[in-house]
């Protein structure tokens, strides 16, 4: 049989299955959608945590305090050096006076406590995006500390490490829960395909008797699985978007998946549908 002809018949049979058992089909699409919706919600939370963390990461800064009386030539030469480090985005000298202004601004209620000359000058270093991990920050800080005129280097080591730990936990939890939800969706699709196989036992036995190949018998079920997965994925995407929009209106606005992630979500639905039906059809065709 020609491939196009096989596909035409397989699609016809898959669509007929939807038409013959609309309630079962809607039920399975909805179940898949809810399972992917839960996955989508968690994905949204993970996305927003990552987004917030990356904003925090942009604020990671190395501050190297300069010994009092260091001459301007030495500091400007060091500024040039540090600015050319591959990881460094910018290096800026903050004089003692500027440090005082900044402190008074940041700690308004204690502004009268600070006196001129109490704060040391510093070189403030910002790192390029993607270089804010604890190891890189610590290595750059170590190199800066080697300058004779640098008294002390601060970069909130503990804070950077905590930030990274939170991000890693969020990523890991997202992956584990994502896999768990994907597993649940595979089982659900597998069960719906099992019901479909059993509901069409007579048709399958007839196909076998008249000499249909296993591939021919399987294809409509695989297409049905992919269709259910895709429709479930689209419905889940719609529900996640609605949830996100409602939350944005009544609680606080959050980031939503971009087109790439949204398509990947629907594609994941289709893939889950294909996997679920492939496992189920293989197993249950032997029973009928």
């Amino acid at each position: 049989m020609r491939y196009e002809e096989l596909m035409r018949l397989a699609w016809r049979e898959a669509l007929l299955a939807f038409k013959r058992a609309p309630v079962l089909s809607v039920l399975s699409i909805t179940t898949i959608a809810f399972s992917l919706f839960a996955f989508g919600l968690f994905g949204l939370v993970a996305l927003n945590i990552r987004h917030q963390l990356s904003q925090l990461e942009d604020r990671v800064e190395i501050r190297a305090f300069v010994v009092d009386g260091t001459n301007a030539e030495a500091t400007s030469a060091a500024l040039g050096d540090i600015g050319s480090f591959p990881e460094v985005l910018s290096a800026k000298l903050v004089t003692s006076e500027e440090a005082l202004v900044r402190a008074r601004k940041e700690l308004g209620e204690f502004s009268d406590v600070f006196e001129a000359g109490i704060l040391p000058a510093s070189i403030d270093v910002k790192l390029k995006p993607g270089h804010n991990d604890p190891a890189t920050v610590s290595a750059v800080a170590g190199r800066i500390k080697n300058y004779d005129f640098v008294d002390d280097v601060r970069f909130g080591e503990e804070w950077v490490q905590k930030l990274y730990r939170i991000r890693n936990i969020a990523t890991l939890a997202g992956a584990v829960l994502g896999l768990a939800f994907a597993g649940v969706a595979v089982i659900i699709i597998g069960s719906t395909i099992r019901m479909a196989v059993l509901a069409r036992a007579r048709e399958i036995s007839i196909m076998r008797v008249v000499g249909a190949t296993d591939g021919f018998i399987r294809s409509p079920f695989l297409i049905e699985g992919v269709l259910k997965g895709t429709l479930g994925g689209l419905l889940a995407l719609l529900m996640t978007w609605l949830a996100n929009t409602l939350m944005g209106r009544f609680v606080f606005s959050a980031e939503f998946f971009d087109m790439k992630y949204a398509l990947a979500g629907v594609a994941a639905g289709a893939m889950i549908g294909l996997l679920g039906s492939a496992f189920s059809v293989g197993r249950h065709l032997r029973e009928v």
């Binding site: 049989m1 020609r2 002809e5 018949l9 013959r20 007579r202 048709e203 036995s205 007839i206 196909m207 076998r208 008797v209 008249v210 000499g211 249909a212 190949t213 296993d214 021919f216």
Partner: protein
């Protein structure tokens, strides 16, 4: 064309269904398979169309052996056979013509050739006027005719009928049997399992009687052993 050589079939739950069965059915033969329920008639038919494989021994159909055939070649072999069941096994939500076309579609017949072939088959079984009816709108005998038309769709060399008249009244039984005889007359071998001894007596065809998974009588052997013939049934 069909040869069983010392065939045993054992099912895990029900035990031995066939014991040392050897038989041969030639091209164009009409053979009745009879015996009480559980005698092994359906098992023999299932072994012919390879729904089951022998536990021991060999079944050969059109030169293809049950021992050496690969799973993926089974559908090709089945296309050389037509199978009819007592319960008709029609797709209830499809019309008569769609039921017959279905057998042609799944075996890869060109879509352009399907319409004409379905019409010819419906004419052959006497249901040309019922093409668009649904199975539930037909009588039992008519439904069995549809099943026979579907079984003939791929021009089989053998038609296997598992108690095809079991659900029919006497008149419908006669009609179906006559149809099977006509099919046989055009060169297709027919193997028909039945309990209907009256039908067997009247037909005077080769008869194989089974009991407890063994062949207890084969009129072909009886004739060769005793040319005067005999009435075992």
């Amino acid at each position: 064309m069909i040869r069983f050589t010392h065939v045993f079939k054992e099912f895990p739950r029900t035990g031995l269904a066939l014991q040392d069965v050897s038989l041969h059915v030639g091209k164009g033969e009409f053979v009745f398979l009879t015996g009480p329920s559980g005698a092994g008639k359906s098992t023999i038919l299932k072994l012919i169309f390879l729904e089951e494989r022998p536990t021991k021994g060999e079944v050969k159909v059109s030169g293809v052996s049950s021992v050496t055939i690969r799973g993926r070649d089974v559908p090709k072999l089945r296309r050389k056979m037509g199978v009819v069941f007592q319960d008709f096994r029609l797709l209830e939500d499809r019309s008569v013509e769609a039921n017959i076309a279905f057998a042609l579609e799944v075996t890869g017949t060109a879509p352009t050739a399907i319409g004409a072939k379905v019409s010819r088959l419906l004419g052959q079984v006497g249901l040309a006027s019922k093409a668009t009816s649904l199975p539930r709108e037909l009588s039992g005998g008519e439904q069995q005719r549809v099943a026979i038309a579907r079984a003939l769709a791929n021009d089989p060399v053998v038609l296997i009928a598992d108690e095809p008249t079991g659900n029919l009244d006497e008149r419908a039984t006669r009609g179906i049997f006559q149809l099977l005889r006509d099919i046989n007359a055009s060169g297709t071998a027919v193997i028909m399992a039945t309990h209907d001894l009256e039908l067997i007596r009247r037909a005077e065809c080769r008869t194989i009687e089974m009991n407890h998974g063994q062949i207890v009588f084969d009129s072909a052997e009886q004739v060769s052993a005793n040319p005067a013939g005999g009435d075992a049934l």
